[in-house]
C-alpha cells in the first residue's frame, strides 16, 4: 500500500516538474501574443499583466498597414520558397548517389562531404562575400538562394542518405530489369519511400532560411530586400524614447506563425529522425 502511495507521489512530482518546464519553454510565445494585444501603457506597466484587460488589435492593424513589413514578408517567403525547392531537390539527388549507386570514388567523396561538416559556415562568409561581390550579386537575393542549389548542407545529405540506404536494393534491381533509368527510380521509387525524412529535411531547411539573419544582413543591403528577421530586429531601436512593444510583438507573432505551423505539422517526423541520426537542424 505504502509503495503505491510512493509511486503516485513520484508520478505527481514528475508531472509537476514537466509541466513547469513546459510552461517555461513555451512562455515567450505566450508573452509575445499577450503583449501584442496590449495597449502601450499596459505593455510598459510596472506590474504583471498576464492577459490584457481589453484585447486590442491596433498593433496588428498598424503592422499590417506598414508597407515595409509586408514587403519583408514577401521577401522572406520568396527567399525561403525558392531556396527550399532547389536545396531539397539537389540534396535528394546527392543522397541518392551516396546510397543507391556504386561508383568508383564514392567513399572518398562521401568522406569529403562529411568532413565539410567541421567547417563552420561562418568561416566561409568573407571569401564568399568577395566572390558574390565580383559577380555583382550584392544587393540581391542570389547569394542567399543559389549556393543551396549545389546541395548545401552536409548534415541534411547525411540524414537523407541514411534513410535511403535502408530501402532494400532489390527494389531498384527489379526496376532496372523492367528497363527503368536511374532518374525514374530516383523520382518514382526512392523519393516516395523516404517521404518522412524528406519532410524532416524540408522543415529544417525552411526553419534555417526563415530564421537566417546573418546572410540577409550581409547581402541584401537595401531595405527593399530586407527579410523578416532583419526588418523585425530593426523595429527595436535603443534610441527610441519608448519602445512600441505591442507593435513590435505583433510583427513578431506574424513572423513566428509560419514556424509554429510548420513545426506542428512536421513534429512527428522531426523528433524521430533527430533521435535516429543525432543531428541538429
Amino acid at each position: 500500500m505504502s509503495r503505491m502511495v510512493g509511486q503516485i507521489a513520484v508520478k505527481a512530482v514528475l508531472y509537476v516538474l514537466m509541466t513547469a518546464a513546459s510552461i517555461v519553454m513555451a512562455f515567450p510565445l505566450f508573452w509575445m501574443i499577450s503583449t501584442s494585444l496590449k495597449s502601450l501603457q499596459e505593455a510598459n506597466a510596472p506590474k504583471i499583466i498576464w492577459i490584457p484587460t481589453q484585447l486590442l488589435l491596433d498593433a496588428y492593424r498598424q503592422v499590417l498597414a506598414d508597407p515595409r513589413f509586408l514587403r519583408s514578408y514577401l521577401n522572406s517567403t520568396f527567399y525561403a520558397a525558392l531556396a527550399l525547392a532547389g536545396t531539397l531537390l539537389s540534396i535528394a539527388a546527392v543522397a541518392y548517389a551516396f546510397s543507391r549507386i556504386r561508383w568508383p570514388g564514392r567513399n572518398l567523396v562521401f568522406f569529403l562531404m562529411l568532413s565539410t561538416m567541421m567547417i563552420p559556415a561562418q568561416a566561409l562568409i568573407v571569401p564568399q562575400y568577395v566572390f558574390f561581390h565580383r559577380l555583382g550579386w550584392i544587393g540581391s537575393f542570389n547569394p542567399l538562394i543559389v549556393p543551396g542549389y549545389f546541395a548545401g548542407g552536409a548534415a541534411m545529405i547525411f540524414l537523407l542518405r541514411q534513410a535511403m540506404a535502408q530501402i532494400p536494393i532489390e527494389m531498384d534491381e527489379s526496376a532496372f530489369v523492367d528497363g527503368a533509368s536511374h532518374l525514374q527510380i530516383w523520382w518514382y521509387l526512392v523519393l516516395p519511400s523516404v517521404k518522412a525524412p524528406l519532410a524532416t529535411v524540408a522543415t529544417f531547411l525552411f526553419v534555417g532560411f526563415w530564421n537566417n539573419l546573418l546572410g540577409p544582413l550581409i547581402y541584401t543591403q537595401s531595405s527593399d530586400l530586407y527579410t523578416l528577421p532583419v526588418f523585425v530586429a530593426q523595429l527595436y531601436n535603443i534610441n527610441n524614447p519608448t519602445q512600441p512593444w505591442p507593435t513590435i510583438m505583433a510583427a513578431a507573432v506574424l513572423t513566428t506563425v509560419p514556424l509554429v505551423i510548420v513545426f506542428f505539422f512536421a513534429q512527428r517526423f522531426i523528433l524521430e529522425s533527430v533521435v535516429i541520426t543525432g543531428l541538429k537542424g
Partner: protein, 381 residues
C-alpha cells in the same frame, strides 16, 4: 540587371539550374570516359556515369563554394585587401595584429570561453534533466517532448529574440517581475541574492581578464552580499550581458535533450532491472548505470555545444546591436568576425579571423577526441 529583384533572382536561379544540369552531364560523361579507358565493364561504366551525375551538384558546389573560397581567403589573410582596393601582401601582419594587439578580439575569445565554461555545463545539465524526466515514459510524454523542443525551432528567430529582450527588461520585464514576486518568500529571496552575488563575482572576474584590470572585480567584492531588493540586471550592465545569452542557450537545449533521450533509450533495460533487484535505488541506478553509458552522448553534446558557442550571432545582434557600451562584453567570435569585416569591408583582416576561428574549431574537436578516452565509456561493463 533587370529592375525587378524577384525576376532577376528567378532568371539567375534558372541559369543556375541549367548550369548544374550541364555540369552534371559533363562530370558524368567525363567519369564514364575515364572508366572506359580504365577498362571497366559496360555495367560499371554506366553506374560510374550515374554516380557522378547525381553527386555532381555537391562536387561542383564544393569546389565553387568551399575549396576556392578557402584557398582565396588563406591568401587574402596575408594581404591588406579592403574591398575596392587591390590586395597587397603584408605577411603575418593581420595575424600579429589580431592575436597580439586587438583587444576586442581577445575580448570575444574570453566571452566564448565564458560561455563554454559557465553556460555549456548549465545547458547540458538542463538537457539531461529534461531527458531523464521524459525517459520515465509517463503518459503525455509526446506533448512534453514537443514543448521542450519548441525553442529550438523558434529560438534563433529575431522576432522571438526581441520578445526575450522585452521579457528581460531589468525594470518592468516579466522575468524580473516574477523574480521580485518570488523573492518575497525568504528562502527564495536569499537564493536570488546568492545567485546574483555569484554571477556578478564570476562575471566581474572574466571582465577583469578582458580589460586587464580588476577594479570592477574589487568593487563587486567590496560591495558585499546584494541588498534584499536586488534583481538581475539582465541587459543593463556588462556583468549580466553574457547571462542573458546563457539563459537563451539553456532555453534552447532541445536538440541536446533529444540526443540524451536517444542515449537513455539505448541503456539496456535488463541492467536497470538487475540493479533494482539488487536493491539499488533510482538515484544510484542513474549514476552507476545510466550515466556512464551516456557519457558518449555528453561528449558529443560538448563538442557540438562548444562549436555552437563560438558561432552565436543572432542573440547578440538582437539584444546588444546598438548598445556600444554593452556589446563588447558579449561579442562571440563570429559576431566579432562579422563586425570587424563588414564595417569597413576589411577582407584581409576578416580572412585572418576566419582562419583563426577555423583552426580553433578543429583544435577543440581534436583535443576533445584525445581526452575522451579518459572518461567516455563506450562499452558495457
Amino acid at each position: 540587371m533587370t529592375e525587378n529583384p524577384y525576376l532577376y533572382t528567378l532568371l539567375t536561379v534558372a541559369a543556375t539550374v541549367a548550369f548544374i544540369v550541364v555540369a552534371s552531364f559533363g562530370l558524368g560523361f567525363l567519369a564514364r570516359g575515364v572508366a572506359r579507358l580504365a577498362g571497366f565493364s559496360r555495367l560499371r561504366q554506366s553506374s560510374t556515369f550515374a554516380g557522378y551525375f547525381f553527386a555532381a551538384p555537391w562536387i561542383v558546389g564544393f569546389v565553387i563554394f568551399v575549396v576556392v573560397p578557402m584557398a582565396a581567403s588563406l591568401y587574402w589573410s596575408f594581404t591588406n585587401y579592403r574591398i575596392p582596393e587591390a590586395p597587397i601582401w603584408v605577411g603575418f601582419r593581420n595575424y600579429t595584429r589580431l592575436l597580439l594587439e586587438d583587444r576586442e578580439f581577445r575580448g570575444s575569445m574570453v566571452n566564448t570561453l565564458f560561455l563554454t565554461v559557465i553556460g555549456l555545463p548549465l545547458q547540458i545539465s538542463a538537457a539531461l534533466l529534461l531527458a531523464v524526466l521524459l525517459n520515465q515514459k509517463q503518459r503525455g510524454e509526446r506533448v512534453f517532448r514537443l514543448a521542450f523542443y519548441l525553442p529550438v525551432i523558434l529560438g534563433f528567430n529575431a522576432a522571438v529574440l526581441l520578445c526575450w529582450r522585452l521579457m528581460l527588461n531589468a525594470g518592468t520585464g516579466i522575468v524580473n517581475q516574477i523574480i521580485r514576486a518570488l523573492s518575497r518568500f525568504p528562502p527564495l529571496g536569499y537564493l536570488n541574492r546568492a545567485v546574483i552575488y555569484v554571477v556578478e563575482i564570476v562575471n566581474a572576474f572574466f571582465l577583469g581578464i578582458n580589460n586587464g584590470n580588476f577594479t570592477l572585480f574589487n568593487k563587486v567584492i567590496a560591495s558585499g552580499f546584494p541588498a534584499a531588493n536586488r534583481v538581475p540586471m539582465w541587459i543593463q550592465t556588462p556583468l549580466w550581458s553574457k547571462m542573458a545569452v546563457i539563459l537563451l542557450m539553456v532555453w534552447g537545449c532541445g536538440t541536446m535533450m533529444l540526443i540524451f533521450l536517444a542515449g537513455l533509450n539505448n541503456v539496456p533495460r535488463e541492467l536497470q532491472e538487475a540493479a533494482e533487484v539488487d536493491g539499488a535505488g533510482p538515484w544510484k541506478r542513474f549514476w552507476r548505470i545510466s550515466f556512464p553509458l551516456i557519457t558518449p552522448y555528453i561528449f558529443y553534446n560538448l563538442i557540438v555545444g562548444m562549436i555552437a558557442a563560438i558561432q552565436i550571432f543572432e542573440p547578440i545582434y538582437v539584444l546588444y546591436r546598438d548598445n556600444a557600451t554593452l556589446a563588447p562584453s558579449a561579442y562571440s567570435l563570429v559576431y566579432y568576425l562579422w563586425r570587424a569585416t563588414f564595417r569597413f569591408n576589411e577582407i584581409g583582416y576578416g580572412s585572418a579571423i576566419s582562419w583563426v576561428v577555423l583552426v580553433l574549431i578543429l583544435l577543440i574537436t581534436l583535443i576533445q577526441f584525445r581526452l575522451q578516452n579518459r572518461w567516455v565509456q563506450y562499452e558495457l561493463y
